[in-house]
């Protein structure tokens, strides 16, 4: 357990360090989720990503918190014991809140998704989801809201401009296919994380990944991506995690 706590500390330190470097306050999240087990996972995973996380376990609590505090983004479960999550969204919009809203729903009904997005939610994710996918979508929402096209992602000698879909190695552009770019961006937004093959395939290819009878295609695309980056003089940061997936790491 000591190792785990230490590991967490490193994560948090990295997160605060990053926010310090970028000289901006940490992003504040509100997680509205009544299921304790899922809530704890979300809290832990997102804290490691460097967010300041608060939770609300019921509609009442969520309503109170959004009235009292300001959040950068709200993760909203729709089915709450004492009310409908969509009402939290309505309140936020009625108050002209700048907070981004990501709906995480177990209902999966198409109407909910359509209604949620119509009411002004930024994105919708049906349960069950990959935590890494959730985190990627959350980052996309925050990026869109806070930087309005100014953002660049830095990792060692790599620079990515998400809004122009441009990748530079040592300042020189690399030509990637759409899928290779999506792959790189997904890996780059989760440095140090183990990403499962399923989550990568689903993020980059969506439902189309069903057409494949194995994840071999993933290997082919990663191989090409690696080669293109290395040709421009980048180090190989894409590590394969045996039997599990991949990890983007400088270690």
């Amino acid at each position: 357990m000591g190792g785990w706590a230490g590991h967490q500390k490193v994560f948090r330190f990295a997160a605060y360090f990053a926010s310090y470097i970028l000289s901006r306050p940490p992003v504040k999240l509100l997680i509205v989720e009544d299921e304790p087990a899922l809530r704890s996972s979300l809290v832990e995973y997102l804290r490691q990503d460097g967010y300041v996380v608060e939770v609300a376990v019921s509609y009442g609590e969520a309503h109170e918190k959004i009235k009292l505090y300001r959040y950068d983004c709200v993760l909203l479960d729709l089915t709450l014991p004492d009310g409908n999550g969509l009402d939290v969204l309505r309140t936020l919009k009625a108050d002209n809140s700048p907070a981004g809203v990501l709906i995480i729903s177990a209902r999966g009904a198409l109407d909910d998704k359509v209604l949620g997005l119509e009411l002004g939610a930024d994105d919708y994710l049906a349960k069950p989801f990959h935590l890494s996918e959730l985190s990627a979508r959350l980052k996309a929402i925050i990026r869109r809201r806070q930087f309005q096209g100014q953002r660049q992602l830095l990792f060692q000698e790599l620079t990515v401009f998400p809004d122009q879909a441009q990748v530079l190695v040592h300042g020189a552009p690399v030509v990637l296919t759409r899928k290779e770019y999506d792959l790189l961006l997904y890996l780059l937004t989760h440095p140090g994380r183990v990403l499962t093959k399923e989550s990568i395939a689903e993020h980059v290819w969506g439902d189309a990944a069903d057409a494949a009878d194995s994840f071999d295609f993933l290997y082919t695309h990663l191989k090409n991506l690696r080669r293109k980056l290395q040709d421009k003089g980048a180090a190989d940061y894409i590590r394969s995690v045996y039997g599990v997936g991949y990890k983007f790491s400088a270690e």
């Binding site: 979300l42 177990a106 999966g108 989801f129 935590l131 290819w205 057409a211 045996y242």
Partner: protein, 417 residues
Amino acid sequence: MKLLTATNRYYVLLASLLFTIGSALLYFGVLWALQGEVEERLFQQRDYLRREVRRTGHLPGTPFEGRMQLSARPLPEVLRDVLLLEPLENELEPYRQLTFRLQLNGQTRWVSLSKSLLETEDVRRLIEWLLLGVLGTLLVSMVLLNRWLARCLWAPFERTLQQLSAYDVRQYQVLQLPGTRIEEFAQLNLTLTRLSERVAADYASLKEFTENAAHETRTPLAIMQAKLEQLLQLPDLPAPAGPLVADLYAAVQRLARLHQGLTLLSKIENQQFAAAVPVHLQQLLTEKLLQLEEFIEDKQLRLETSLPMTEALQLHPALADSLVSNLLHNAIRHNHPGGLLRVVLTAKELTISNTGPVLAATQNPAQFFERFRKHNPSSDSPGLGLSIVHGIASFYGFEVRYEYAAEQALHTLRVMF
């Protein structure tokens, strides 16, 4: 045939029958009575003649207003109808004639007394016209009355029928039927309204159940997936544990997909996809094939397409997407490297053919529409793809056929609109 036409027909039949019998009885009765009257007069005249002859010995001088003929030839003594020439009008007219024997001056003579039936004839004609007129008026007024009844009395029933045929349970509507004075219709409307209330409530609770079931299963799946993902992040995770957790993770994924497929199927079966927009399959197929390009290339499939612009179909966008995706995914997934993928769209059908595993003679291709039936039982796919295709197709009344050509191991799925 309308109910009213049917009852009308019986009424008219019965009325005609009774009227015909009644008319015949009346007609012949009157004729019989009139003829009886004529005959009685003839017998009276005969008796008078006999009496006079017996008293005076000769025939009275003035003949009756009818006619009297004497004949020395023996004639049959009967009553009969004859036609005699009316000298004034030079026409043959009907007469009733009584012939009898008379001893006149010691000689036997045959007397024929005739009496005109012309008055009887007039009466008969009058009766005929009267009866025809009354019968005709009666029948016509019956038909008219029924028409009027159909319009006025049956109107609430027609309205009920109209509303019923427009009834759609998917809109949770309760029938709003108009009140009516007719007890049977009022009761019918009341029963239907109650029925529709029950149906709407059942439908709502079924939908709620499906959604709750989906919700209740999705949450534990989400927890499992999240915890496993966290487990994989642990830096102290022993190396051999990685693949174990990854396998678990993959299994949870499969379960989630399975759940998704089954929920979709039950939603289709509960007809929860009522909304429809015009969908151009040509566009949808082109878009999907583009998304699948890499997988087609990876397998080095030979892609043959014929996608002419066809008329748009009225479909729910999510179902159209699911139909096309499942068909294409199926055809790519079960294809062998270097195989063939043929997509042909016409106004009448969509045909997707792919080379694939050889089927044993015992395997009936139609069974792949059943849930959990797969070519390869150990495959990762939940085996719901074709069930979903089938479910969507039958939802829209399309026919799906699975054809298998053994010589090339060519599997063809045909969706006929």
